[in-house]
């Protein structure tokens, strides 16, 4: 039987997701190196390496039946995919941050607020919901820089340990979205390959549960 294609996010999540998959019985060679396509030892899965923000695209179109991607990336786009499992790795949060002087200020009363973010949609949704009028300035990276050079007042970005913020004299003001790596599944594949995909989801789910219990 043809292996199912699994889109992996290059970078931060890649190793953690591969380890999880190995624990679920889908081991890969220790050294996948720079390969863009490789299989697991059981022949069930074929992995493709993709830019994290491209993972949902591969899955929505069915070019990959499954994928793993951060909830932050998933919610920033508008993808129609199934999200059967939170993988409980890559834990972080989308937060509003800024210089310490902004702590405790009522943002609704700050007209002309400028906020730098790599997540314009989520940032905008957050401000709309809070009744805050803010101009979102889109940046593709190093968002922490924006307040110090006067590009923006605040920023909305992913925070893991908070170290990067601290190094730039910034503090976390509010959590917008707690994030983790999500297992995503193409809608058609879920029906066309139902039992095979259910098997993968349930094995991964067992690993996630086992790990959670071990943590407690």
């Amino acid at each position: 039987m043809e292996p199912l294609t699994f889109a992996l996010p290059k970078g931060r999540l890649q190793e953690e997701v591969l380890t999880l998959l190995a624990e679920a019985g889908y081991a890969t060679d220790a050294d996948v190196g720079r390969k863009l396509v490789f299989g697991d030892s059981s022949g069930t899965l074929r992995f493709i390496m993709a830019k994290p923000s491209d993972v949902p695209t591969y899955v929505e179109y069915g070019a990959a039946a499954l994928g793993a991607v951060g909830l932050d990336v998933l919610r920033e786009g508008r993808w129609d995919v199934l999200e059967p499992l939170g993988l409980n790795v890559g834990l972080c949060r989308l937060s509003l941050a800024g210089p310490a002087s902004w702590r405790g200020r009522n943002l609704r009363l700050q007209p002309g607020l400028r906020v730098a973010s790599k997540y314009p949609r989520l940032a905008n949704e957050f401000f709309q919901a809070q009744g805050i009028s803010a101009e979102i300035i889109y940046l593709d990276g190093s968002v922490e820089l924006a307040p110090s050079v006067g590009l923006s007042d605040l920023l909305v970005d992913m925070v893991q340990s908070g170290r990067t913020l601290a190094e730039n004299d910034l503090v976390e003001l509010q959590t917008i979205l707690p994030s983790q790596a999500m297992l995503i599944v193409n809608r058609a594949a879920h029906k066309m390959q139902f039992s095979r995909i259910e098997e993968i989801v349930s094995r991964l789910s067992a690993v996630v549960e086992r790990r959670k219990e071990a943590q407690e």
Binding site: V59, E60, Y61, G62, A63, L71, R78, D80, V81, L82, E83, P84, L85, G86, Q180, M182, V185, N186, R187, A188, A189, K191, M192, F194, E198
Partner: protein, 418 residues
């Protein structure tokens, strides 16, 4: 972009079809129509434009956001139809409501949606589908689902699946919780994504706990064969939810009777557009395509917006999406090419061939002779006449050329038809 540039462009999300694609488009539409007629469905043709009031208020909220709207000269808001179901429901509610029931109607037409072109979606596309009106039974649901199965089979693919849900199960579970439209939409979205993380979050936010909460948490897992119905029965005591399960089981049994069980997946987590669907809802998938090619369900409240209330169930298939996987027939080649010719014999041969359904092309650019005939054959024509007077005709075929009398040629032409 200035206007001289626009002149040469198509607006985003629209497309041209030609050659094999256009042939495949027409062939698929024809195949589906033939299928619908075999089940006794009859054609209805409805206008492309309607009053905004008629089209938008009854459409699902998602479609409502995607309407192309404009005004007529009297200042009335008009819209291009975003689907075929609402105009057909209007026709039935206002005009056909007192005809012998049930009504079996089919349609084929363009619909327009202002949406981000992605995943095979276009802003103008063709929906071909059926509406079965005036029958609220499981038999009616099974019939429409079976026709949908046959529509998928018409694509010429071996593997296809229909994902069958029943929104009344969830509606029964949340009965009495008094959720607002926004709250329900939030829950619906989480369930529809099968995201346990998000469902848990929604339940916490909406303070849903106890048996209802447990039943909702179980929805992503209630997907599979007939076994999930027994599983679902344990989750709720709500009579409406239990009736929904009885109904779904009955539809499943009827479809199994017709041999469709292998192509059917029951999915109680399929809960899209709960404000629109009132019973079963389904999506059709085929191998090789990552998104559905047809969708349908029961909407018993729709016709009542336009006239007497009548139960209705139907589905629509997108031709453009289906073409991404349908087995493309090659464009049928020419059977005969003729040079420009003033002799009545040429015209007799051409007329005879066309009356037999052969494809005949007459040369218009003044070309003739062996080189022209060879070129025509190279493009796939099976016969070329290079010369014909009242008595002798010279015929070129892939095997060579020969001369025969006009009467012999007229006798031979019928043998060319396939």
């Amino acid at each position: 972009m200035d206007s001289t540039e626009l002149r040469r462009q198509r607006p985003l999300g629209l497309t041209d079809l030609f050659g094999e694609q256009a042939a495949a488009y027409a062939a698929l539409e024809r195949a589906l129509i033939e299928q619908f007629e075999r089940w006794g469905y009859q054609l209805v043709v409805v206008p492309t434009i309607g009053y905004d009031q008629a089209l938008s208020t009854q459409a699902s909220p998602r479609l409502n956001e995607q309407l192309y709207r404009f005004f007529d000269r009297d200042g009335h808001a008009l819209a291009l139809r975003p689907d075929m179901t609402v105009p057909v429901a209007r026709l039935v509610g206002t005009t056909l409501y007192d005809q012998p029931l049930p009504l079996r109607l089919y349609y084929a037409g363009k619909v327009f949606r202002y949406e981000q072109p992605q995943a095979g979606q276009r802003r103008e596309f063709t929906q071909v589908g059926i509406e079965l009106i005036g029958a609220g039974s499981a038999e009616a649901d099974a019939e429409v689902t079976a026709v949908a199965m046959e529509a998928l089979r018409a694509l010429g693919v071996d593997t296809f699946q229909i994902n069958l849900g029943e929104v009344d199960f969830l509606r029964g579970i949340i009965d009495g919780l008094e959720l607002s439209v926004e709250e329900l939409a939030m829950l619906e979205q989480a369930i529809n994504r099968k995201s346990r993380v998000e469902i848990r979050h929604a339940l916490d936010t909406l303070h849903i706990s106890g048996q209802a909460g447990e039943a909702i948490m179980a929805l992503p897992g209630l997907c599979g064969g007939l076994g999930i119905i027994a599983e679902a029965r344990q989750l709720t005591a709500n009579p409406a939810a239990q009736r929904a399960l009885d109904h779904l089981a009955r539809v499943y049994d009827l479809l199994a009777l017709d041999g469709y069980a292998d192509h059917l997946i029951l999915d109680l987590g399929e809960v899209r557009s709960m404000d629109y669907y009132t019973g079963i809802s389904f999506h059709g998938y085929v191998a090789g395509l990552g998104f559905h090619v047809l969708s349908g369900g029961r909407y018993d409240r729709l016709v009542g917006h336009f006239g007497p209330s009548l139960p209705a169930v139907g589905f629509a298939m997108s031709i453009e999406r289906s073409l991404l996987v349908a087995h493309t027939p090659t464009v049928r080649k020419l059977d005969l090419v003729l040079p420009a010719c003033d002799h009545p014999a040429c015209h007799r041969v051409a007329a005879l061939a066309r009356s037999l359904g052969l494809r005949v092309e007459t040369e218009l650019l003044g070309r003739s002779g062996a080189a022209w005939a060879a070129q025509a054959l190279a493009h796939g024509a099976t016969h070329a006449i290079v010369r014909c007077d009242g008595e002798q005709c010279e015929l070129v075929e892939p095997g060579g050329s020969r001369t025969l009398t006009l009467s012999a040629l007229l006798e031979e032409v019928p043998t060319w038809s396939r």
